[in-house]
């Protein structure tokens, strides 16, 4: 019995959360030409990666990415390998540090929102109606006129009936009157805050400005118009997912009807919400309800176009160049879609989150299908899980304002904005030696004030070396007594497989130059170069000379093309020369990058040597 008690005590002691370790990962991201040619560092907490980026205007700010997103961007598209040093922290220290970085992320994001609100107010008083900051969000999903037939859709009829049941007769009209009154009564002290004190410890509340209140209420009024007058979905903003895989069975249609009813009830509650932004959500929700109606009626899934406006698109000419890749992306997406559709319809109840994911991936698939079949441009980014399209703020909805008050408000806002910028620069000004992506990681670790021996030791390692403002110096320093693993870049993985499957000489001769390399295609991100020099150190000077000559030759063309391409070719040649110089002395920066690749799967972001 005594032995048993003793063993229990030992077991409890060992498994105590106070003592269990959690791995904090420091990432060094290898150099490549472009945005981080001196390398980059990041901190990884389980699924999230925090790092600091240098922005226009000379400031450095925290960024938070999911590991998959971060890996995809840096390791795959930018083709950089990672070196990961894991440091064991106690569970509480790990949690506190993660919370600290999360807090900094939210605080800084909120500071950005303050600037956005300032800009919105300025634009509003200057009546720049076409500016996106003044747009009515969600209204763009609908036609700008009622249906010609005058017939109500089934969803519209159901909605109106629900309004009657819940709120009584004439709800819409009464609500419109209430909102119109509210809009006229928005306080005219146009920007309240005169004192501004930004802090990296306090979350700044953003004033709900006159501009935002007017825009939000206008959006709500417009939504009520859309409901009462029966505006339908704009045909450009939805599509039918074609093919047998998107056909609906009777059971699935029945499930969609239940889901639609849930959303209708939710919408009736939403229009009576105290949320300032309910108008945008109401548009999105009603659009979703109408698209469900189309699915139910047709027996085929119909989805809203979920792409954000103005996103990156691959031009039609380039679609042909990347045809194989896009087809592979499509095949992968279809396989995922089939799985997700099955999961959606076998769940007890359809949840909005799950439906939105199916919609987003269907957009991804449909976009490539359309582009490949009809040789059209393919939008490759910007899918949103809640479809929102915008319209410019209607001039007719702009309130009557006293001219002198507006002039005074603009002056006040511009002064305020100036103070904001000064404070931001004071807090976050980038400095290549004292305030960069490396220094900020360790400054924040230090400032977190967490009492932990491991963190204290790391801090002293970093501060004892004068050159740790350089990303790889800092990493070398902290990785001295820690376990380090390498996560290979995209090209390294591809080459490894090629060397395993094919004759070494054949692979080398094919892959050492950009003209015959199978996986690499020239793209705008890379300066002109001929030879890859990252693989073999001893051939670097020779191949570097080749790259230098290539870039120099290209610069002649660049000079000739200068009047026609605004110096694009010449800049590429110039950067090509710069990137070739280190190669002459055995150093490599440039590795080539990729514009479009297959999606990552979760396992690719796991910390493994195979990864």
């Amino acid at each position: 019995m005594t032995i048993l008690l003793f063993l229990c005590a030992v077991f409890c002691f060992i498994s105590s959360p106070q003592l269990s370790a959690k791995a904090l990962e420091f990432l060094y991201i290898n150099a490549n030409e472009g945005t981080a040619s001196g390398g980059h560092v990041a901190l990884r907490f389980e699924k999230e990666t925090f790092h600091f980026q240098h922005y226009d205007g000379g400031i450095i700010r925290i960024v938070r990415d999911l590991n998959l997103d971060f890996d995809y961007q840096y390791r795959y598209l930018e083709n950089r390998s990672f070196y990961v040093a894991s440091v064991d922290l106690t569970s509480p220290a790990f949690k506190q540090l993660h919370e600290y970085f999360t807090k900094q992320f939210f605080l800084q994001k909120q500071q950005d929102k303050l600037l956005k609100e300032l800009n919105r107010s300025l634009l509003f008083f200057k009546q720049e109606f076409d500016h996106p900051l003044l747009s009515l969000q969600g209204a763009g999903l609908f036609n700008d006129q009622p249906s010609r037939t005058g017939n109500k859709s089934s969803a519209q009829s159901k909605l109106l009936r629900l309004f009657d049941e819940l709120y009584g007769d004439d709800f819409l009209h009464k609500k419109q009157l209430e909102l119109s009154k509210k809009k006229s009564a928005i306080p005219n002290d146009l920007w309240q805050k005169n004192r501004l004190l930004l802090s990296d410890a306090l979350f700044v509340n953003v004033p709900y400005s006159f501009a935002s209140q007017t825009i939000d209420i206008s959006n709500q009024l417009l939504f009520l118009d859309v409901i009462s007058q029966g505006f339908g979905l704009n045909e450009k903003n939805y599509f039918t997912a074609e093919g047998a895989d998107f056909k609906l069975s009777k059971t699935e249609i029945a499930q969609l009807k239940i889901f639609q009813t849930d959303l209708l009830k939710s919408l009736t509650r939403l229009v009576d919400s105290n949320r300032p932004d309910w108008g945008k959500s109401a548009f999105a929700l009603y659009a979703r309800i109408l698209s469900l109606e189309l699915s139910i009626q047709s027996g085929q899934l119909v989805f809203l176009d979920s792409f954000k406006e103005g996103v990156v698109a691959v031009k039609a000419e380039e679609v042909i160049k990347y045809k194989t890749l896009f087809q592979a992306q499509n095949d992968q997406a279809l396989s995922y879609l089939k799985k997700k559709k099955q999961q959606l319809f076998t769940a007890k109840k359809i949840k909005e989150k799950d439906y939105s994911l199916l919609e987003v991936v269907s957009n991804y698939y449909h976009e490539r299908q359309r582009g490949l079949n009809y040789f059209q441009a393919i939008r490759v980014a910007g899918e949103k899980r809640l479809a929102v399209k915008t319209i410019s703020f209607p001039e007719a909805m702009y309130p009557e304002l006293d001219k002198q008050e507006v002039i005074a408000a603009i002056k006040h806002l511009e002064d305020y904005k100036q103070k904001y910028k000064q404070q931001i620069i004071a807090m976050y000004a980038y400095n290549i030696f004292s305030r960069n992506c490396v220094t900020e990681v360790f400054r924040n670790i230090n400032q977190s004030g967490i009492d932990d021996k491991t963190l204290a030791k790391l801090n002293s390692q970093i501060t004892s070396d004068f050159a740790t403002f350089i990303p790889f110096r800092a990493f070398d320093s902290l990785a001295e007594n820690t376990r380090v693993i390498q996560k290979k870049s995209f090209r390294e993985q591809v080459l490894e497989k090629m060397y395993a499957d094919e004759n070494d000489v054949k692979v080398f001769l094919r892959e050492f130059n950009t003209l015959s390399a199978i996986d690499y295609k020239f793209n705008e991100r890379d300066s002109v170069f001929l030879f890859f020099t990252s693989e073999n150190i001893w051939s670097r000077p020779l191949l570097g000379v080749g790259n230098l000559l290539t870039a120099a030759g290209y610069s002649i063309y660049g000079g000739l093309a200068l009047p026609f391409d605004s110096g694009k070719a010449l800049r590429s040649a110039g950067m090509g020369v710069v990137m070739s110089l280190p190669e002459l002395v055995f150093f490599n920066i440039r590795k080539g990058s990729y514009q479009y690749l297959l999606p990552l799967t979760a396992k690719n972001s796991i910390n493994s040597n195979a990864g």
């Binding site: 998959l68 956005k116 509340n205 932004d277 995922y336 989150k353 992506c437 110096r473």
Partner: protein
């Protein structure tokens, strides 16, 4: 290794820039966040996660935001609501006030902040707009958090 890396730094630093430079076309102070939406595709993120993981991740976001907000700001319902709306929108939820996952996560966040008693009750009423179902969900989240 140290000498090599120092030499590399001496050569490279004048020619290059360390650290990542945001290529966002927005102004710097409007772009703190994650890799810009306009260049990020679903090709990298949650496409491969299960529904349960997706829900859990979302709830953690809401809980963390609530935690940060209530520990470092004076309560302002417009600011708080807009913050939650953004997280909900990113997860594909239009009406978060009716969403059980969101409300329970808010409850967890309030508990994590050690908000108790009449202050907790006041926040619960404000956030739920006195709707009993919503208050119950917030309470459920509150009680489930350690």
């Amino acid at each position: 290794m140290k000498m090599r890396s120092f030499l590399l730094a001496a050569i490279i630093l004048p020619l290059t820039q360390a650290c990542s430079f945001s290529t966002s076309s927005e102004s710097s102070s409007a772009s703190s966040g994650s890799t810009s939406d306009s260049v990020k595709s679903i090709s990298s993120p949650s496409s491969s996660t299960s529904s349960e993981e997706d829900t859990k991740d979302y709830q953690v976001q809401v809980m963390n935001y609530t935690n940060v907000y209530f520990t470092s700001a004076e309560f302002d319902s417009a600011t708080y609501n807009i913050g939650i709306s953004e997280l909900a929108e990113a997860a594909g939820i239009a009406n978060w006030e009716d969403d059980a996952d969101t409300l329970t996560a808010i409850g967890k966040g309030l508990k994590k902040d050690n908000i108790t008693g009449s202050l907790y009750e006041a926040y619960k009423i404000r956030i739920s707009s006195k709707n009993v179902t919503r208050m119950n969900l917030i309470q459920k989240g509150y009680e489930s958090q350690d």
